[in-house]
């Protein structure tokens, strides 16, 4: 019968209208400025720099200004300048740090590639989105101070991922410490027979396969060869 389809359709709209008063599946409005919807942990919008402590964010940046993210950033919106001197990082090792680290958020497309390529877990994606501003040039370029956020903040927005990163960093640090200890022990063991470096002294270093380890393995023979 002509009109059946129309009536069926109107029944659907009526069901939705009535349903919107009692069925949460049919009333989906989020009262945004008052109620902020919970963001999923994976949500990403603009990068930030992780610093170990909130008290001294500039001194404890994880970033070592390797400039990998600057090179890989698809729209080229990161700008880094390396320091000339070195500062100790959280683990006490001397590292270069960025004197300028700027991200132009008017260009950034939050693609997360900087985070993926960072070998030091020092740049992560933020979750702020209330960033509308009337200023064009000043407000949208974020500098080092504005980008630095503490690890505690990182734990707050992404608990699972941050815990994983912390675990990994701790393991790396521990390995580095052990290696340093082993290297020191190897050095201490070296002097008795300087002419012929023993294979036993080289082995632990080679098995670790890190750049520092290889360097450490290369040194003793050179020193031993000189006298």
């Amino acid at each position: 019968m002509l009109g059946t389809g129309l009536i069926k359709g109107l029944a659907v709209t009526a069901k939705n209208l009535v349903g919107s008063y009692h069925d949460p599946a049919r009333y989906t409005t989020v009262e945004y400025p008052e109620v902020k919807p919970p963001l999923p942990e994976a949500y990403r919008n603009f990068p930030f720099l992780v610093s170990e402590s909130a008290d001294d964010p500039m001194g404890t940046l994880r970033c070592v200004a390797c400039q990998i993210c600057e090179k890989e950033c698809p729209p080229q919106c990161i700008y880094i300048e390396k320091s000339k001197d070195k500062k100790p990082d959280a683990a006490g090792k001397l590292q270069i740090y960025p004197t300028v680290f700027a991200i132009d958020t008017s260009v950034c497309m939050s693609c997360q590639i900087c985070v993926e390529v960072c070998p030091f877990d020092s740049i992560k994606m933020d979750q702020v989105y209330e960033v509308a501003t009337p200023g064009r040039y000043g407000d949208l370029l974020l500098n080092r101070e504005q980008l630095a956020k503490s690890n505690a903040y990182y734990h707050q927005i992404r608990p699972t991922e941050a815990a994983e990163v912390d675990g990994r960093l701790a393991a790396e640090r521990k390995a580095a410490e052990e290696k340093a200890k082993a290297a020191a022990a190897a050095k201490a063991a070296l002097p008795p027979k300087p002419a012929a470096p023993s294979p036993a002294a080289k082995l632990p270093d080679e098995s670790r396969r890190s750049p520092q380890g290889e360097g450490g393995a290369a040194k003793p023979p050179a020193e031993g060869a000189q006298p």
């Binding site: 600057e70 080229q76 919106c77 700008y79 004197t99 300028v100 680290f101 080092r144 101070e145």
Partner: protein
């Protein structure tokens, strides 16, 4: 499906006097292509479309490629006999030759009827300046219509026999062919707080003088 070599032999047998060359593709995809000459391109295309054993009824993708003039330096080892009568010497000779540039149009053909493909056809222009015409395949496959216009717009290849060859993406008064490798963009410099590479070179051009006082925001770090 026939291999590209078989197809080439079939085409050469069917069209004596045509030039059909296999361009091999070393990548793991192994999608080799056939380079056609201009004189027989449309006949061959029609044959590919209508021959019952081939039936390439859809031209899926048409695109242009710019190959600018290249200078190739080759080093060859030549054995030179020693005039003094000693053992012949091996001398490295460096030759430089210029490989002329050309524009290339690539067609990807599929057969919906026989579910086979792709066959890749290539057409090359004589050079990049004045001999930039290739025969249009729009009369054979309708899908080439807009795509050939795009190639004309962005690469500057003219298609002979195209029913409506106009610019498609850029405006009509536009003079350049922006997808060519040597295209120089207009200088519409915009504030570049994060300059790198080419952008940095451009930024330098726009701020030739020693910078004035740094903005407060940047002076901080």
């Amino acid at each position: 499906m026939e291999t590209v070599e078989q197809l080439r032999d079939r085409l050469l047998a069917r069209f004596p006097g045509a030039s059909v060359t296999v361009i091999s593709n070393p990548s793991p995809s192994a999608q080799h292509s056939l380079l056609l000459d201009h004189a027989h391109a449309r006949e061959i295309a029609l044959y590919l479309r209508d021959e019952p054993a081939l039936k390439f009824d859809q031209c899926s993708n048409v695109t242009g490629i710019d190959w600018p003039e290249k200078e190739i330096t080759e080093t060859t080892k030549v054995t030179v006999p020693d005039p003094a009568g000693g053992p012949p010497k091996v001398v490295a000779q460096t030759t430089k030759r210029r490989e002329p540039g050309y524009l290339e149009v690539v067609y990807h053909l599929y057969s919906l009827a026989l579910r086979q493909g792709p066959i890749i056809l290539r057409l090359r222009t004589g050079n990049r300046a004045d001999a930039v015409a290739v025969p249009s395949l729009t009369p054979v496959w309708r899908s080439c219509e807009f795509q050939e216009r795009e190639v004309f717009d962005l690469f500057g290849v003219t298609f002979e026999g195209h029913p409506d060859l106009r610019r498609i993406l850029m405006w009509d008064g536009f003079k350049d062919h922006p997808m060519r490798r040597d295209y120089a963009e207009p200088d519409d410099y915009e504030w570049e707080p994060t300059p790198h590479g080419d952008v940095l070179a451009k930024a330098k051009k726009h701020y030739p003088e020693k910078p004035a006082a740094e903005p407060a925001k940047e002076a901080k770090p």
